[in-house]
Symmetry: C2
Subunit: 348 residues, 2 copies
């Protein structure tokens, strides 16, 4: 698992997938280990974060961020260790957080790397609970969900990197939390480890009735991570003035065709009007200004043991494409990380 | 037109309409002119307001307000004159604003009537620009639309009671305003009288292209009064962080069946996510606390001639059902009022 043997391996976008990404979507390329120019550093990737948003970057549809070009290294957050530096403030051996991409070594310029202190928290957590997924959960609740004590929050993908944190923060804010997850072990985790009030199987035939029973006071916040038929079951249960932070739509990321349905728009818009709902989309980088406040609050909760998190770590850059396809099918259990090279902070 | 000749005529809900209300939906009944009990007054109706929301009250579906029962007088805002009073603070001859309903005479208890000063503004304006439609426009912009100078606002039903005010307020706040209306005279009114920047025919075959051309900087606020296919044309033009106050859905109020379509939900939700849109429903009575501030600001603009309004006044309570059906088809031009009896403040 020492990446040096192969030079710099890079996984590039080979073809834009139609539907689910597969072996044809990616190509593993080899190159030399880069040397830094002036005002650059080179970091060896330790952890690569895999996240659902990456599916959107594989399309060339307009979005909030530029698409990955064909032949370009796949984008992705990384934690690495500096192996060469001509950049002020960074020395060999420093741990850094960056958008290093799906490769063994990344060249990073000024402003592209943030130094991590491994004595404060495990370095991998900068990609999860203390990183982008964590800020997503924390800021989306603060800015849109606005949980109040006694309210009910429902979320899908509840054991995922964002979902597990959304639910735990809502519990700490005094909410009833109902999590949806597709496997029995994930549901047991939500109940036993994270302290959710209910954990439901959204694939069960009686899901709508089960959801209603689990939300006797209706739903005040629906954290939209998923899209698709879940929202249909949620909509009738939403209370007046309910909030729906729209954070992700993984259900549709691979969709290639859509069914013919009786137009659902009137029912949706009527519910928005009559119940005075708020549906609001957000992207984590709109809330970068909240980063310090986020780390302060979540960091304290972590130290006090009030927040737990789970990582699903797979070894080997070459396994990133399969792991990513599995992520889109909900096969991960916790924050999905690829260990691209050994993490020296934990031995190994 | 002196209502006294016929006692108290009342228009009651005869049958819940399926689709458009028609002659079978209503029944004209006759009764005696009521006498007030202790702590009541009786007012002769001068103006009855007809508003799209009344269509919803004719259904028994759950909504934000109770349905009108079969055989019950149709609900509606009224301006009347007190003819008998056993209620402290009200004397014969006083003008009052109330939910008097579709009838010649209304019995009103404590807290059900607000006295109007006819020297401040024409009494009928308490049902329009200074009343519920006015507060709808003003508060919806303030709380959800949040217009900023240089932004573009698009609204349908633009010459209606709410729409004309939304557009004028947005102009006063420095926006570019594009109004949609179904007839050439309404569009001329929007441009020439209200000073909108563009007025478009939403029924034109090239509407989507015309709308795009009229919004070279995209759309920051879409005031949703209508629902239906207009929103489809608006959605691709919405800018990042655009706001959609959902105020009315008149397009669907009479809908009895819905077409089969390719599911539009994914495109809508994706737009909400990627563009960080806010869709938020509201009902004017959520904002009753803003009434004083609203009257202060709009009243000043009216006195300064910065706000104009137009009323479409029809004579005779018996014509309310036809006028109401026409309102739902967009046949009114300005705030629709029924003159149930003579307005003594303007002679007659």
């Amino acid at each position: 698992m020492d990446a040096n043997d192969d030079g710099n391996r890079r996984i590039v976008l080979a073809a834009r997938p139609r539907g689910e990404p597969n072996a044809d979507s990616f190509r593993l390329e080899h190159g030399p280990i880069p040397e830094p120019n002036e005002d650059e550093l080179v970091a060896r990737t330790i952890y690569l974060s895999l996240d659902p948003y990456m599916r959107g970057r594989m399309n060339d549809a307009p979005s909030y961020a530029a698409a990955v070009e064909i032949g370009e290294v796949m984008t992705g957050g990384t934690v690495g260790q500096v192996i060469a530096s001509k950049l002020d403030g960074f020395e060999i051996g420093d741990f850094v957080l960056a958008q290093g991409g799906w490769q063994d070594y990344a060249t990073l310029g000024a402003g592209e790397a943030r130094r991590l202190d491994p004595s404060v928290a495990p370095i991998g957590s900068a990609l999860g609970v203390l990183g982008m997924p964590g800020l997503t959960a924390w800021s989306g609740l603060r800015e849109i969900g606005r949980p109040e004590p006694g309210e009910t929050l429902v979320l899908a993908a509840a054991s995922g990197a964002v979902g597990a944190l959304v639910g735990q923060i809502a519990k700490l804010r005094g909410c009833r939390v109902v999590g949806l997850a597709g496997s029995a072990d994930k549901r047991a985790y939500l109940l036993d480890e994270l302290g959710f009030d209910a954990a439901l199987d959204y694939r069960a035939p009686d899901f709508a009735a089960t959801l209603e029973a689990a939300c006797p006071e209706g739903i005040d916040i629906y954290w939209e991570n998923v899209g698709g038929p879940l929202f249909e079951a949620v909509l009738p249960l939403l209370n007046t003035f309910a909030r729906v932070p729209v954070c992700g739509l993984i259900h549709w990321y691979n969709a290639t065709s859509l069914p013919k349905v009786t137009d659902p728009t009137p029912a949706l818009m009527r519910a928005i009007l009559v119940k005075r709902l708020t549906l609001r989309g957000f992207i984590v980088f709109d809330h970068a200004d909240l980063q310090d406040e986020f780390v302060t609050e979540i960091g304290a909760w972590l130290r006090e043991g009030k927040i737990r998190y789970r990582e699903d770590v797979r070894d080997g850059l070459e396994n990133a494409p399969d792991a990513f396809a599995g992520l889109l099918r909900g096969e991960n259990f916790g924050k999905l990380l690829i260990r691209v090279s050994d993490d020296p902070t934990v031995g190994g």
